[in-house]
């Protein structure tokens, strides 16, 4: 195991598996968020949030989720360092943009920003609801109202929107790359995987970007 995990392909395999797990989480997270559009004063979303917190299974998966994020980030940092060391003297002229896209080369930059977003996002919603107990209790604002208040702030809504844009580009490259790393691609599958990756990225973008847009412009959450 240690030989495999310390190899370059082993590290990439860990990146791919944790990345795909995080993709599954995104789908689940999007489903939960879409309950905000139920037009029931936020009842479905509040009920959903309550269920998540009180399910042992979900709480266990939550631990795995945090571990997956940490492993994905730590491996990325390690690989980036190793890859940078593989070229100690850089080219003075390198037209690398003629042979590859900026987003495929800079998964570290988009990933770092997404990590920053996750930290801010957790601070905004996870910490008050789950740790500080300042949201969702008797006499306090509920989770649906917390979402609405957060996304009506132009700075946070803009930051959220921009982060989702970067997430989409990260997914566009990462999704198909994960299958390539796991050896699940060949010349017949590759075009479909590329399309599936782009499709998934677009879906996640449209889904998640809708929240800052609709809430900021007052097109959602009117009954909260």
């Amino acid at each position: 195991m240690s030989n495999f995990l310390s190899s370059s392909i082993g590290k990439k395999t860990v990146m791919a598996l944790t990345g795909l797990f995080l993709c599954v989480f995104l789908v689940e997270h999007l489903y939960g968020n879409l309950l905000l559009y139920a037009n029931d004063g936020g009842a479905a979303f509040i009920e959903y949030s309550h269920t998540l917190v009180h399910s042992i299974l979900i709480r266990s998966i939550e631990v795995v989720l945090f571990i997956a994020i940490i492993v994905h980030v730590v491996q990325a940092v390690y690989l980036t360092k190793q890859n940078s060391d593989a070229r100690p003297v850089k080219y003075s002229v390198n037209k690398v943009n003629e042979t590859s896209t900026w987003f495929s080369r800079n998964m570290g930059i988009t990933g770092s920003f997404i990590l920053f977003f996750i930290v801010v996002h957790l601070y905004h919603y996870f910490v008050p609801y789950r740790i500080m107990d300042t949201v969702g209790g008797p006499g306090q604002i509920n989770v649906a109202q917390a979402v609405k208040i957060g996304l009506q702030d132009p700075v946070y809504a803009g930051f959220y929107f921009f982060s989702v844009c970067l997430l989409a580009f990260h997914l566009n490259h990462g999704f198909q790359g994960a299958f390539q790393t796991l050896g699940l691609s060949n010349k017949r599958y590759a075009p479909f995987l590329k399309m599936a990756g782009t499709g998934f990225a677009v879906l996640m973008f449209v889904g998640f970007a809708s929240f800052p847009v609709l809430f900021y412009f007052g097109l959602a959450g009117g009954t909260f």
């Binding site: 195991m1 030989n3 495999f4 190899s7 370059s8 392909i9 082993g10 590290k11 990439k12 395999t13 690989l79 190793q82 890859n83 060391d85 593989a86 070229r87 100690p88 003297v89 850089k90 080219y91 003075s92 002229v93 390198n94 037209k95 690398v96 003629e98 042979t99 590859s100 896209t101 495929s104 080369r105 998964m107 490259h173 198909q176 790359g177 299958f179 390539q180 790393t181 796991l182 050896g183 699940l184 691609s185 060949n186 010349k187 590759a190």
Partner: protein, 250 residues
Amino acid sequence: MNLTLKVWRQKNSKEAGNFSTYQVNDITPDMSFLELFDVLNERLIAKGEEPVAFDHDCREGICGMCSMFINGRAHGPWQGTTTCQLHMRAFNDGDTIVVEPWRAAGFPVLKDLVVDRSAFDRVIAAGGFVSANTGNAQDANCLPVPKPDADDAFAAAACIGCGACVAACKNSSAMLFVSAKVSQLALLPQGQVERESRALNMVKQMDEEGFGSCTLTGSCEAACPKEISLENIARLNREYLMANLKKGLF
């Protein structure tokens, strides 16, 4: 054609190098890029200066010896072309052309534009061979090989080991090279005996040589003079994962 060349000059692997600028006049568009350097070197020798060291051998695009990073591209601007097959008609009169050696920790510069690519030889020595007796031509013809496998193996075997994939990759990854060599043997019956050990040992050696990992940017495929497909990298990942699973991860 009159050209300005900015060429990387480095005395040896120990000393730091820098760019020297040369004005090279009266170049014909029909010359190859290496012939441009032949002309430059003759003029340098005539002036009593040290000629530019560069690798070359067959000058027919099949040996994989030439290795120049020209104007920001491995083997220059033409697709599927080695430096020796790049012709001066790819450039315009008055152009400034920047020429650097392959830059990678695994390919240390020996002198000027010459790099040490023996890391690739060590990767091959680690497993890029078959020890089964493959017999003579008629014996090989007796072994049934499905046509798609034969085609894929042949396409992978087209790799000439020039190192353009490493030079072009932002991570100096040798995955395209290693995957081509693993693929050509994994697809054929003669390669089955050492299939797992080959994947394990070649990847281990690749990592030890200091090459980076694959981030699927596709630069290697775009730079490869033999247009080796990224599909091979997926196959190498698969071979390596399966070999580890068979060996036992724990």
